[in-house]
């Protein structure tokens, strides 16, 4: 059974007056049906742009997208980047949906919630408006919003941030997509609400069997929700593994740095040192030669790490890392 989503060498470049900004530099990965993959990285790593590229929501002018994104819809596979515009619209919101970070501003303030959800349904299904509104109420109930029928008439400003995000999720799920892309959906929410939304997403996924690409910079969330993790840095994937494997055996120094940057708030329990990764994310227009992380890496070896871009090495079964010195790093840190 071929993968649901197969991304081959995705490249996204933006044209600005100062030159070309390579936001995504050859990202490849695949996703099986029902899987949850977390895309982790700091701001500027290219994770959001990757997701926008999959949806073909990148700006139309000044932006170049290259590569192949193969999506399996039922039996057929098609390259999303090569689809004609109309065909892509039929995919968006229907077979692949996306939810965004800011529930406050992601909904149209002058239309009712019910109207907006119904619109998403009517766009892809030939049913009556009344039926669409019924379905919208069902969906609001599904995402745990009390008094769903009443909520249909509400405007977004009547709802709290958490409720709005639930409504966004309802809207995204309205046509039963095979893939949901969640771009930092909980980052703008309170911690307790965050947990609720994650719980909801897990529940919905079990119920519908859809695959999820979850974008975040929060490793705690990753541990909660992901099956597999991909770490991105400077527009490339630098490590890929099953979630437990990644946390137990991070191979790439950047990943190790990320994990160590999470403060350990439980006192006395095998206290690790809190370490920040020194330096800053590189300017995408002036990426360091060779491995993009080498200026900040404590395992940097001149002549080796800055010579050529490392390929993704297989470290264990299902575990890839983009580091030429991963074996030495593993033995040092052990």
């Amino acid at each position: 059974m071929t993968a649901l989503l197969d991304v081959h060498d995705l490249r996204v470049r933006f044209h600005s007056d100062d030159g070309v900004v390579p936001a995504v530099n050859g990202v490849s990965f695949s996703l099986e049906a029902g899987e949850t993959v977390a895309l982790v990285g700091e701001s500027g790593s290219g994770k959001s742009v990757t997701s926008l590229a999959i949806m073909r929501l990148t700006p139309r002018s000044g932006c170049e997208v290259g590569g192949k994104i193969l999506f399996r819809d039922g039996v057929e596979r098609s390259d999303l980047l090569a689809l004609p515009v109309e065909a892509m619209r039929a995919v968006r919101g229907n077979r692949i949906s996306m939810i965004f970070q800011e529930p406050m501003t992601s909904l149209n303030p002058v239309k009712t919630v019910g109207e907006q959800i119904a619109e998403a349904i009517l766009c892809h299904r030939a049913i009556s408006r009344a039926a669409a509104l019924d379905r919208a109420a069902e969906l609001l109930d599904l995402v745990g919003i009390p008094e769903p029928r009443k909520r249909l008439e509400n405007y977004p400003h009547h709802m709290s941030g958490g409720m709005r995000q639930r409504a966004m999720i309802a809207m995204a799920l309205s046509c039963e997509p095979a893939l949901l892309i969640a771009d930092e959906p909980t980052t703008a929410l309170d911690v307790t609400v965050q947990a609720q939304i994650l719980e909801l997403l897990k529940r919905l996924q079990e119920r519908t069997g859809m695959a999820v690409v979850f974008i975040t910079h929060n490793l705690g969330v990753v541990a909660e929700i992901a099956d597999r993790v991909m770490v991105m840095y400077a527009g490339r994937i630098v490590e890929q593994a099953e979630v437990r494997d990644l946390f137990a055996r991070p191979r790439m120094p950047y990943t190790r740095g990320l994990l160590r940057s999470v403060p350990n708030l439980v006192p006395g329990r095998g206290r690790r040192r809190f370490e920040a990764v020194p330096g800053n994310v590189p300017d995408p227009m002036h990426l360091p030669k060779g491995c993009s992380f080498h200026p900040r890496c404590q395992h940097f070896l001149p002549g080796l790490c800055d010579a050529a871009l490392p390929a993704l090495d297989v470290t264990e079964d299902g575990h890839l890392a983009r580091c030429v010195r991963w074996r030495e790093v593993a033995s040092v840190e052990a």
Binding site: F14, H15, S16, D17, D18, V21, A23, S43, G44, G46, S48, V49, L52, P59, S61, G62, F100, Q101, E102, D183, E184, V281, D283, P284, M285
Partner: protein
């Protein structure tokens, strides 16, 4: 779009290729405007000495001469006066009124706005409500009402035009001063014991100079236009003193027989006003790109 913004750390504040092109073009328009203004100023100042005809010279034998068809380049009017000469002399008046009215209205508007913005409180509110109330009167109605009450002369018309043009400047200045008042450098000056006047004039206003300059430039355009309106309607600059506005008023009568009498003064006004508008727009763009929403 926070995610895209994060993806373009270096490119974010830099305009894309086409926007830079557009900014350059706009600058070109602004430069064009500046050149035209310079030409107009020089032309009206020195032109009358360079052309063969005097604007007052009446030559009944050559009245209503169409442009380019005789000795008068732009034609002549009902009294045989050379149109070009009259245009240039009228330009002196119109441009003078424009600049002076701008100067007066900018100074007055800045004073009111700075006072309101700096002191705030009830004084600020009263002043700004007053400005709002004056803005309720349609400009031309106010202009005419005031102009009708005074003896028309270049000075009085300048004052009247200035009286209807200061409000926008006051608003702009009030906003700027109010925003800058609480900034650290102003507070520092206060702590050092600087007087209010010092703070306003030496600390705050210099930082607000950009929008004031833009407003002032656009105000010249406005003033020229307003002078033309009030003179056209008969309550502005009175003949025999020529202004572009009263030349148009004169031309109305002969519209069907000698349309050039109306076309050229109108073109002159449009040219002057457009140039100042282009210049002001270009300045706004150049001095503070954040103000550029167009």
């Amino acid at each position: 779009m926070s995610d895209l913004a994060a993806a373009l750390p270096a490119a974010r504040e830099k305009p894309r290729r086409s926007r830079a092109l557009r900014r350059f073009l706009r600058h070109r328009l602004a430069i064009l405007g500046a050149i035209v203004i310079a030409v107009l100023v020089l032309g009206t100042a020195f032109g009358p000495h360079l052309i063969p005809y005097d604007d007052l010279h009446i030559d009944i034998r050559h009245r209503f001469q169409a442009p380019f068809l005789g000795p008068h380049i732009l034609g002549s009017d009902q009294l045989g006066r050379d149109l070009l000469a009259r245009l240039l002399m009228a330009g002196r008046v119109s441009l003078t009124v424009g600049f002076s009215a701008m100067a007066l209205s900018t100074v007055f508007g800045t004073l009111i706005g700075a006072t309101a913005g700096y002191y705030g409180g009830w004084l600020g509110t009263v002043l700004m409500r007053f400005v709002d109330a004056v803005l309720c009167f349609p400009t031309i109605f106010l202009l005419l009402a005031l102009a009708a009450f005074v003896q028309p002369s270049v000075l009085s018309i300048t004052l009247v035009v200035a009286a209807t043009a200061w409000m926008e400047v006051a608003r702009v200045v009030e906003g700027q001063v109010r925003a800058l008042r609480d900034r650290d450098f102003a507070l520092a000056a206060q702590v050092l014991g600087a007087s209010d006047t010092w703070i306003v004039f030496r600390e705050l206003l210099p930082n607000a100079i950009a929008p004031i300059v833009v407003a002032a430039t656009l105000n010249v355009a406005r003033a020229i236009l307003l002078e033309s309106y009030v003179s056209f309607l008969g309550y502005g600059i009175q003949p025999p003193v020529p202004s572009w506005g009263n030349m148009l008023e004169n031309a109305q009568e002969y519209l069907s027989t000698a349309p050039w009498l109306a076309i050229f003064p109108g073109l002159a006004i449009t040219l002057a006003v457009t140039s100042f508008n282009f210049l002001g727009d270009g300045l706004r763009d150049a001095l503070d790109p954040r103000l550029d929403i167009a």
